[in-house]
């Protein structure tokens, strides 16, 4: 994809200059909040929407003006869009039938696809007689039977219940690896994005934010939006001031020392001496301080403790201003987040209850710094 743009007739600019290169056999996830243009981008690749400007290539060939049929793609829709009057076998074989494939060959391919998906016993059923998970498999079957050069999936798991979703998540990823077909997978669920993708593309309001492997995206977000969007519970983002000599950073009334090593890794931080920045800390980078430990600390007032068994999720408040990345959190959630509220994951045995003042050890190497104005990460 090169500088793909989509402008609707009503002037709405859904996708801005999007450029993306997807390798052969790669599982690429497009993720972002609702209305960020990810589905539009996918539909343009499918040929269901016109491309306003830019070039789309599949396998090196420009396909802007080709019909969906000519592009050699297969798509799985959010609501599956199975043909209700056809059996599972007919549903899976429909595209092949339209290509006038001889019957024995068609049957063999349908059977093969059904084997991969565990649908062999259901081939004579109609979609109405199947469970949600089975319908989802049929929709997958319809895509894989054609052996296309690209799979396009538009939130294929969002209609399943939570347990099945986790199961199918692994299965879709397994099938994709098995077939090694380039895949574009659209989701708004960042957990799906993290667990399934070889690489993840984060989008916001039609603009591509960052493309990277899930781990790199998590550890080194390019901007505040990506930082806030990826990860659950979300990253704690606070307004802070860098000390004059760049040896400390001040969150509200608390001052955290910045070791030399941290600054060396981020030389650009020197330019922010005495200036405002946004700092980000993942919940797991705020373990409860053990006795006698040295290093940077943060003290917070505990509001709520959620025991998850393996760990405690501690909601706390500090007197610094909490930064909310617009669009990353929905408005209701944003309103609920009090000023200065943060989340930490601490060891399950930590003795803590609401109302306590808890001291967190700050894993300072993992702290992220962002420019207050541009929202971009401060690194090199």
């Amino acid at each position: 994809m090169e500088k793909i743009n989509k402008v609707y007739e009503n002037g709405f600019h859904a996708v801005h200059d999007m450029s993306l290169d997807i390798a052969d056999g790669e599982f690429m996830v497009l993720v972002g909040p609702s209305g960020c243009g990810k589905t539009t981008a996918l539909r343009m690749v499918a040929g269901l929407e016109d491309i306003t400007s830019g070039i789309l290539r599949i396998g090196g060939k420009e396909v802007n003006d080709e019909t969906p049929k000519e592009r050699d793609i297969a798509m799985v829709f959010q609501n599956y869009a199975l043909y209700p009057h056809m059996t599972v076998a007919q549903n899976i074989g429909f595209a092949l039938k339209l290509r006038k494939l001889p019957k024995p060959e068609l049957d063999a391919k349908v059977k093969e696809a059904a084997d991969i998906l565990g649908l062999t016993d259901w081939l004579d059923r109609k979609p109405g007689q199947l469970s949600g998970g089975q319908r989802q498999r049929v929709a997958m079957g319809r895509a894989i039977v054609r052996q296309p050069s690209v799979f396009l999936m538009d939130e294929p798991l969002s209609n399943l219940d939570a347990k099945l979703r986790v199961q199918m998540r692994a299965e879709v990823a397994r099938i994709q690896r098995h077939l090694a077909v380039s895949t574009i997978y659209v989701t708004h669920d960042q957990v799906e994005a993290m667990t399934m993708g070889d690489r993840v593309t984060v989008m916001r309001e039609g603009v591509l934010q960052q493309v990277d492997t899930p781990q790199h995206l998590y550890d080194h977000p390019d901007n505040i939006f990506v930082a806030a969007f990826i990860g659950s519970p979300a990253m704690n983002l606070y307004d802070a001031v860098v000390g004059e000599n760049v040896r400390s950073v001040k969150l509200g009334s608390q001052e955290i020392d910045l070791p030399e090593a941290v600054v060396l890794k981020r030389p650009a931080l020197r330019g922010y001496a005495g200036k405002d920045v946004v700092v980000g800390l993942r919940p797991e980078h705020l373990p409860a301080e053990s006795d006698g430990a040295t290093g940077p600390k943060l003290v917070g007032e505990v509001d709520l403790v959620e025991a998850l068994g393996s760990e405690l999720v501690v909601h706390f408040t500090i007197d610094a201003n909490r930064v909310l990345a617009e669009g990353a959190v929905d408005k209701d959630e944003a309103a609920a987040v009090k000023k200065g509220e943060g989340v930490a994951r601490v060891a399950a045995k930590t003795p803590v209850k609401p109302g306590d003042r808890l001291t967190f050890a700050v894993s300072i190497e993992d702290m992220q710094f962002f420019d207050t104005q541009t929202g971009l990460a401060i690194r090199g």
């Binding site: 499918a46 040929g47 269901l48 019909t67 969906p68 049929k69 793609i73 297969a74 798509m75 829709f77 959010q78 609501n79 599956y80 869009a81 199975l82 043909y83 209700p84 009057h85 429909f94 595209a95 339209l98 290509r99 109609k126 979609p127 109405g128 007689q129 199947l130 949600g132 319908r135 319809r142 209609n159």
Partner: protein, 281 residues
């Protein structure tokens, strides 16, 4: 607790069953009276107290309708006119409904409102100009002289029903068809049409019943005896001096049969779950 199991006599005698009984009685009794009377001899028809069951059972009324009157011809006329008009309405209505429901078009709203206005237009208001028009065309006493007006009058309503039905079919169905490689007509034929069947049958039933029972136009445009349809034919039974009730009852029973058959088929097709399973929900 709505679905608690009823036990003992309450299983049979409860509010729902009693109401159902009265509704069935209300609808079924006139129909029973019609059928029963059609088998009575002319002498027994006017008995007081009335015969609840025909005795002796006579087929005289039926032979009279078919032999002494041209009821067989009327029946064939009605069948030809109604079937062709209904077929035309469904073919045109399905395509128009699909276009109005789905395709990007300008002036859709105006068109739909115009259709609605036309569909509530009283036939009596246009019957005179229509008569002159058909006379000039030389279409009086021809099948097309009824088929075309019937099609025109029933089409707007059918388009409304079908358009609304098409709107309910998820657009992903067509998109997935396009990706699978089906052209527009293939998509309409193999994907949309089977899913729209309940809507098409509903429109078909309405149209069939309307044409089958239409009286005013049939009376005005078809004066020749061999072109009369059932409603007009039955009305013309008898003479100034006699009203052959038995024959009229017998003819009416025969006239009801096609609608009965149609509803029976209709029942089989209109399975509300036909579209279930296509999408979640």
């Amino acid at each position: 607790m709505r679905n608690r199991k009823r036990t003992g006599w309450r299983r049979y005698i409860n509010g729902i069953n009693i109401s159902a009984f009265f509704v069935v009685l209300f609808v079924g009794l006139p129909l029973y009276w019609l059928i029963a009377s059609s088998f009575k001899t002319p002498a027994n028809l006017g008995n007081s107290p009335p015969q609840y069951f025909p005795n002796p059972i006579s087929l005289g009324n039926y032979t009279d309708a078919f032999k002494n009157n041209d009821f067989g011809q009327y029946f064939i006329n009605s069948l030809i006119v109604t079937l062709i008009a209904t077929a035309l309405v469904l073919v045109l209505g399905t395509m128009a409904g699909y276009a109005l429901g789905r395709l990007p078009m300008k002036g859709k709203f105006t068109l739909m409102v115009t259709l609605l206005i036309i569909s509530v237009f009283p036939a009596i208001a246009v019957i005179a100009p229509l008569y002159l028009l058909l006379r000039n065309l030389g279409w009086l006493n021809t099948y097309q002289g009824l088929i075309i007006p019937y099609t025109a009058f029933n089409l707007p309503f059918a388009i409304w029903i079908l358009r609304n039905y098409m709107l309910g079919i998820p657009k992903e169905m067509e998109e997935t068809g396009r990706i699978d490689g089906a052209g527009p007509f293939r998509t309409l034929w193999t994907i949309i049409l089977p899913m729209a069947l309940p809507g098409i049958f509903t429109a078909g039933i309405f149209c069939f019943t309307a044409c089958w029972t239409e009286f005013l136009m049939a009376l005005t445009f078809m004066s020749a005896n061999n072109r009369r349809t059932i409603p007009v034919g039955i009305a013309e039974f008898g003479t100034v001096f006699t009203v052959p009730y038995g024959t009229i009852f017998a003819a009416s029973v025969v006239a009801v049969v096609p609608i009965g058959i149609l509803v029976f088929i209709f029942r089989k097709f209109v399975i509300s779950g036909l579209t279930s399973g296509a999408v979640k929900g």
